[in-house]
């Protein structure tokens, strides 16, 4: 059992490959989290426009991309679009898929946050001469973010975990590298190593979240 799962020789051999993968996973996360967050902020700000011509298409957009498994979206971009002569490459596909998918999730979380801020806050800000957008960005959004911080963090954890999907389109992130090493060595030790690395990377965030969530639920 130890031979198969925690083979030291193979571990030493695979370590540089895994390490390179970890670096790329971190870089990828640093790219897709802000991308999704940016998309989410745009959607959330748009959701404050109550006009039906904005509201319903927006709701449809958000639900559409929340209903789509992110992997399906990614495969569609990566394997479907080239038939239309649009060869974007794995990296761009991952970026677009995350912008659309995680942006919708961030958007929903932030919209709930904005809804939780009393209307009096906008009125007070507008009464001092701030524009609608200024009131939203400087007065409402900061309070909204604070109110839904656990959900935002939880979503961020999910986004980082989702970067493992990039392995399917051959981006050399942690899981992809581990599978490469596995097929080179005919031994699952590199995948075990990758799992341990993921766990060590994300455990602090999980602990923090669990504390925050318990607190939030208790104050209901």
């Amino acid at each position: 059992m130890i031979e198969s799962f925690l083979n030291v020789g193979i571990m030493v051999q695979a370590w540089p490959i895994i390490l390179a993968g970890l670096g790329n996973t971190i870089l990828l996360s640093l790219m897709v989290v802000p991308l999704g967050l940016g998309g989410g902020i745009m959607l959330a700000l748009l959701s404050t426009v109550k006009h039906p011509w904005v509201r319903y298409p927006l709701m449809a957009w958000v639900d559409f991309f929340r209903a789509f498994p992110p992997l399906v979206l990614l495969i569609f971009l990566y394997a479907g679009l080239p038939f239309a002569g649009l060869e974007l490459g794995g990296f761009a596909c991952v970026g677009i898929a995350f912008f659309l998918n995680t942006g919708s999730y961030y958007g929903e979380v932030l919209r709930a946050g904005i809804d939780s801020v009393p209307a009096g806050q906008i009125e007070a800000a507008r009464s001092t001469g701030l524009s609608r957008l200024q009131a939203l960005v400087w007065v409402v959004l900061p309070q909204a973010v604070r109110n839904v911080l656990p959900d935002l963090l939880s979503n961020t954890l999910e986004v980082i975990k989702l970067t493992s999907l990039a392995s399917v389109v051959a981006l050399p992130e942690l899981l992809f590298q581990a599978r490469q090493a596995q097929s080179l060595t005919y031994n699952p030790t590199p995948i075990v190593a990758a799992a341990v690395v993921y766990f060590l990377l994300l455990w602090p965030l999980v602990r923090l979240l669990s504390t925050l969530e318990n607190r939030a639920m208790a104050s209901r």
């Binding site: 209903a67 495969i75 031994n187 995948i191 669990s210």
Partner: protein
């Protein structure tokens, strides 16, 4: 041929769609079956863990917290790959279907345990005291007084989390499960046309759009009123 015709010919090719339509439907049923198995086993396991945690045995609780943390921290695809490619080297060879089921079931177990537990602790202490003061035992108080209230506040987060995890069934395609995405992908490589992917995408929408809308409804409906 105009651009539009070429676009339709590529992504909405009627001939290709008709040819691979049965495959996609087959994949749809498999996805539904897999999702149902994951939801039932994952939620039951999560609830059982939360109830065990309510007993307050310290060592047991540490073990539960650790297991939950592990399956919250690991990407589902990593767990699937680990089970599917890793276990055979100790002579257990679960199919792609079983690997996906176990992996996502464990993930749902972890998330739902956390949610159930938060719900249980959110019920005020006075509820326990009132029930115990009328002579109800620990189990009875949990079953009749605390759980009904806890479940109610857990329904919205639980619904959303369950939806998100069942969407992970698409990950099964990576380990050769012939669910929707698996069927669509192999149809694309057989037909050299992406129309089956369009069909597959439509199948996912058909399946999950109502669920997402339902989740939205649940969220507004079950906001807890005292």
């Amino acid at each position: 041929m105009s651009n539009w015709d070429r676009f339709v010919e590529t992504f909405f090719n009627a001939r290709v769609m008709a040819r691979y339509w049965p495959d996609i439907v087959e994949g749809l049923w498999l996805t539904i079956g897999l999702a149902a198995l994951i939801v039932v086993t994952g939620l039951i396991a999560g609830l059982v863990l939360a109830l065990v945690r309510a007993l307050g045995v310290r060592v047991l609780n540490w073990a539960i917290i650790f297991v939950v943390d592990v399956f919250r921290a690991l990407p589902p695809l990593v767990i699937i790959v680990l089970i599917y490619f890793g276990l055979p080297s100790i002579d257990i060879a679960p199919s792609g279907f079983v690997s996906t089921w176990i992996s996502l079931g464990l993930v749902l177990m972890a998330f739902s345990e956390e949610i159930f537990w938060a719900g249980i602790t959110a019920v005020p202490r006075g509820q326990w005291e009132a029930a115990r003061s009328t002579g109800l035992g620990f189990g009875e108080t949990l079953a009749y007084v605390v759980l009904p209230q806890a479940l109610r506040i857990t329904i919205p987060p639980l619904t959303n989390r369950t939806i998100a995890i069942t969407k992970g069934t698409a990950l099964g395609s990576v380990v050769a499960v012939t669910e929707i995405l698996g069927q669509a992908s192999s149809a694309v490589s057989n037909s050299y046309n992406p129309s089956p992917l369009t069909l597959g995408a439509a199948a996912y929408l058909l399946l999950f759009l109502p669920v997402v809308v339902f989740g939205r409804w649940v969220e507004s409906k079950f906001a807890w009123r005292r």
